[in-house]
Subunit: 173 residues, 2 copies
């Protein structure tokens, strides 16, 4: 295998990127240069998403709800009378994968599947009283712990601007 580069950093270091002036040293993490990675939107997007989800899960430990479960409960509550296909596809969940997810929520008695009278193939989804109670508590935790902390770190104006740009990406990109 051909390896023309030597192990000497001074010999093998690539030329500094044009957009990195000499007085603005390149971003590092633990002494390792991040290179163009600091400018790659997808990379920061992924890292930020993992952090935010971790915090969400931490805020929800008492209720034991994942982000996906929370979004499903929210959508069922807001859209009574919808079936599995409609709720799943809205969230980008494939129908086969939605089955186990609903089994879990129904097993915890947070929601129920009811055969539709109109179309006996489909299952109408609705929250149980317990499901509505949990959802209400979850919303409160999200607002007072999770989103409140995001507001602290970003500031309200930045938070709103960020949300709109992310929505733009999800919609138009």
């Amino acid at each position: 295998m051909t390896v023309s580069r030597t192990a000497d950093p001074n010999v093998s270091k690539p030329a500094r990127a044009a957009r990195e002036p000499a007085d603005a040293p390149e971003a590092e993490a633990g002494g390792i240069r991040m290179g163009e990675l600091s400018e790659l939107l997808g990379y920061s997007l992924k890292r930020a998403q993992l952090r935010v989800f971790d915090d969400f899960i931490r805020c929800m430990t008492s209720l034991n709800l994942t982000p996906a479960q929370f979004s499903v409960l929210l959508l069922i509550d807001r859209n009574p009378g919808r079936n599995q296909t409609e709720i799943a596809s809205t969230l980008g969940i494939l129908r086969p994968n939605f089955v186990a997810m609903l089994d879990g929520l129904e097993g915890r008695e947070l929601c129920v599947r009811v055969r539709s009278a109109n179309d006996r193939r489909s299952h109408i989804l609705m929250l149980t009283d317990k499901g509505r109670t949990i959802l209400a508590r979850a919303k409160k935790l999200v607002a007072t712990r999770h989103e409140a902390r995001l507001n602290e770190v970003l500031g309200p104006a930045n938070r709103a601007a960020l949300l709109e740009m992310l929505a733009t990406l999800a919609r138009d990109f």
Copy 2:
């Protein structure tokens, strides 16, 4: 199982959220109300991240590089002489999972593992000539297709603001 809510949307619809004035109708997706999901940063973060990664992969089809593989090649190139643990941990990849990833890159002759002379336990990572060629082409594709399109959709100023907020979240949140 107790289900107090009826199937009638008018009866069971929850009160409109306080922050949604009557003249700003709630966001919908295919006729389904998104509820508080439109205001949940983590949700938009995830959807945006999936879109951006999909586009990245599409732009890279000719080189067959995933975002993770691209970031590994970039970091190896920028940090000659580093071992697997250092590169992997910088990217948030667990050492056991980094093995198969490197097997793939080394199998394609894009990089090599070399036993360190100082510490014969560790493998120094470096790109091959082929690896450097592929990386250069990948960078060009990312800049001219992927990031260029992000710039179109967001505008340069917004793109920069978004990147900084995401970096803030990844760092301080």
